[in-house]
Symmetry: C2
Subunit: 316 residues, 2 copies
C-alpha cells in the first residue's frame, strides 16, 4: 500500500517534506531482496558527492534521479542506502567522495548544486527535493559514524544503510535526527524575529534551538526565547514540522504567546532581534518592506510560521 | 528570569516534563562559573549508578537530590554535568559506575530504584522526576560516546557536560535526542491500540516509531501505522510531547484519522493490534475493562492520547 497523500498537513507545505517513497523499513534486513532491488533495471538513485547532490541535466530540465547502473561512472562509491520504492521501482542513495564534485563539474550532462539552492529555487520537483533531503541527512550520518562511539572500533553498514554495527562491542547505531523547536513569539499585533550574523543581509526569522534531553517542545522553545531575547512565553501552539537536512534536523514549528515585551538580546547568539507589526510582516512576505527586510523563503518552516500568523490569522 | 509555568500545556501533564531548572545554556562554557557552582555549599546533584538513580531515604520520604559534596562517598565519579539552577542553587548530574548500585544497595539512607518505577509510582515529586529524566538521558549519551564516531579517538567532556570534543579530528559531539511519533489512530468511535510482546500482560498502547531522516512527524506516524497495522491515515492532530528517558527520546503525540479499518498486523513488531470502542477505552482508563485490558500509566503520553480522545472529546 502506498502512503496516503496529505494535503491537510501544514507540514506538507514545507520544503523536504514531500516524499511518497514506501520506505519498506521492515524489509531492510532482507539482504536478498535489497540485492535484487539494486540490480533491478528500474532501480534509480540520488547521488551525493561530499555534501553536494549531482543532478542529471538535459536540454529540458534537471532531475535528481539517475539510473542505478550509472552511479559508479562518477567515482568510487562509499556508501549505498535503500530509500524506498515508488511506482517506477526502487530508489537508493549513493554517497561518493567530495572530490567527485570537482572532477565532474565540467560535464554538460550533470549539475552539481548544493541542496539549499535546489530547494529554494525549486530546481527539481518537490518529490525529488524530499528524496534528496532524506538521502543527504542519512549519508551525512554515515560519514560521521564510521567508528563506534561506544568503543572506538570501526563500524560496518547494515540494514540496507539504516544501521551501523560494531563487531568489537556489538553496539548498534541508528541514524540521528535532531529535534529543533522553532517558535514565533507573538505579542498582540507584533511578532518577534531575530537574525544571526551568518544570515543573508536584512533577513530575519523565527527563533530556534535544539531540544535538549528532558525538555518538551514547548519548554525548549520557551527557553530559547528567554535565553536569546529575554522574553517570557506562555501558551504554545504547534503548527507543523519540517525535515531539515542541514545536516539532519527535525524542525518543530510553533506559535507562542509572549508574556513580556522588553527585549534583552543575547548578542553572542543573535545579531539582532526585534518586534515586527503584522503589517510589516505582510510587507516582508510580499517583499515590499520599506527597509527591504526579508524572511526565509517558502521552502522554510519559518516562512510558514510568519504566514500562518500574519496572513491566515492563526494565533497561539 | 525563571522559566514560566505552563499549566496550559498538555505536554506538562506527562511524566518527566516538569522541570523548572534554568539550564543557563549560554554559561556552560564559563568554566570558572561552573567550578564555582560545583563548590557552592548549596549545590545539589542527582546520582545515576549505571542506569539506576540513587535516592536519599529518610523516615518521611524519598528525595532525588543529594548534597553535591556527598556524591563522592558512593564511589568513583565517571561524569559530572551541570543541569541548571533553581531558587535553592545549582543542580548537577553525577554518573557513577553501575556496580555502585549493588555495593550500596544495603544502606538504609538510600534507595536504588529504576527510573520507570520512580515515575510510575510517583516516589519523588514531579519536579525531581523531570530532573532525573534530564540527567539519565544525558548520562546515557556520555556513556555511549566516550569515542569519536568520526575517527575513533577518545573524546573528552566539555561545556559543563553538554558537549564532547575530539582532540584528534576536532569533531564536536552533542547530546542526542531521538524524536518518536506516537499516534492514536481513530476510526469513528473506535481507536487502534497494539501491544508488543515485551509489554506487561494485557497492556495495549498507541503505536509508535522513530522519526527517520527526511520525515515529518505526520508522515512518520502514518508510515508506522501502515507498516505495523496495515491502516491508512489521513488527518493528523498534534497533542503533546514528552521527554522519554529510556534512553533518550522525545515522544511527539498525535491523534490520527484512519482511512481504513481492515487490520493487517505485522506480527514481528506487534503481538497484537485491535480496535477498541470509546466505551472500552473509558473502562481501560478506569481499570474496569471486563478482560482486564490495561493502558500505560498516567505518566506516559500514550495514556494522555487515549484520555484526550475517549474522555475529553479531542478528535484528529
Amino acid at each position: 500500500m502506498k502512503p496516503v497523500a496529505a494535503p491537510l498537513d501544514r507540514s506538507a507545505r514545507t520544503g523536504f517534506s514531500t516524499n511518497s517513497l514506501d520506505r519498506m523499513s521492515e524489509k531492510r534486513d532482507d539482504e536478498a531482496l535489497i540485492e535484487q532491488f539494486k540490480h533491478d533495471p528500474a532501480a534509480r538513485c540520488v547521488i551525493i558527492a561530499g555534501d553536494l547532490p549531482i543532478l542529471c541535466r538535459s536540454a529540458e530540465n534537471l532531475s535528481a534521479l539517475h539510473a542505478m547502473a550509472n552511479a559508479a561512472q562518477f567515482g568510487t562509491i562509499h556508501e549505498v542506502a535503500f530509500l524506498g520504492i515508488d511506482a517506477a521501482g526502487p530508489v537508493f542513495a549513493v554517497q561518493l567522495d567530495g572530490q567527485v564534485a570537482d572532477t565532474q563539474q565540467g560535464r554538460d550532462d550533470i549539475s552539481v548544486i548544493d541542496l539549499r539552492t535546489i530547494a529554494v529555487q525549486g530546481l527539481v520537483e518537490a518529490e525529488a527535493v524530499g528524496i534528496l533531503g532524506q538521502a543527504k541527512s542519512l549519508m551525512y550520518w554515515h560519514q560521521r559514524h564510521r567508528f563506534c562511539s561506544n568503543c572506538g572500533a570501526p563500524t560496518r553498514v547494515a540494514a540496507a544503510g539504516w544501521r551501523r554495527e560494531c563487531d568489537h562491542c556489538k553496539g548498534l547505531h541508528f541514524p540521528r535526527t535532531d529535534p529543533v523547536a522553532i517558535m514565533l513569539a507573538v505579542d498582540g499585533n507584533r511578532c518577534l524575529l531575530g537574525r544571526q550574523a551568518r544570515f543573508p543581509q536584512n533577513m530575519y526569522s523565527a527563533l530556534a534551538g535544539f531540544i535538549e534531553p528532558g525538555e518538551t517542545v514547548e519548554d525548549a522553545g520557551r527557553r530559547e526565547i528567554r535565553e536569546e531575547a529575554g522574553i517570557g512565553v506562555g501558551r504554545v501552539a504547534y503548527l507543523a514540522t519540517q525535515p531539515w537536512p542541514f545536516p539532519a534536523s527535525l524542525m518543530i514549528g510553533c506559535l507562542a504567546q509572549s508574556l513580556s515585551s522588553e527585549l534583552d538580546v543575547d548578542r553572542t547568539e543573535l545579531e539582532d532581534a526585534r518586534w515586527f507589526t503584522i503589517d510589516e510582516c505582510r510587507m516582508i512576505l510580499s517583499n515590499t518592506h520599506p527597509q527591504q527586510i526579508l524572511c526565509p523563503p517558502t521552502m522554510a518552516i519559518a516562512h510558514h510560521l510568519i504566514r500562518a500568523w500574519a496572513i491566515e490569522g492563526v494565533n497561539p
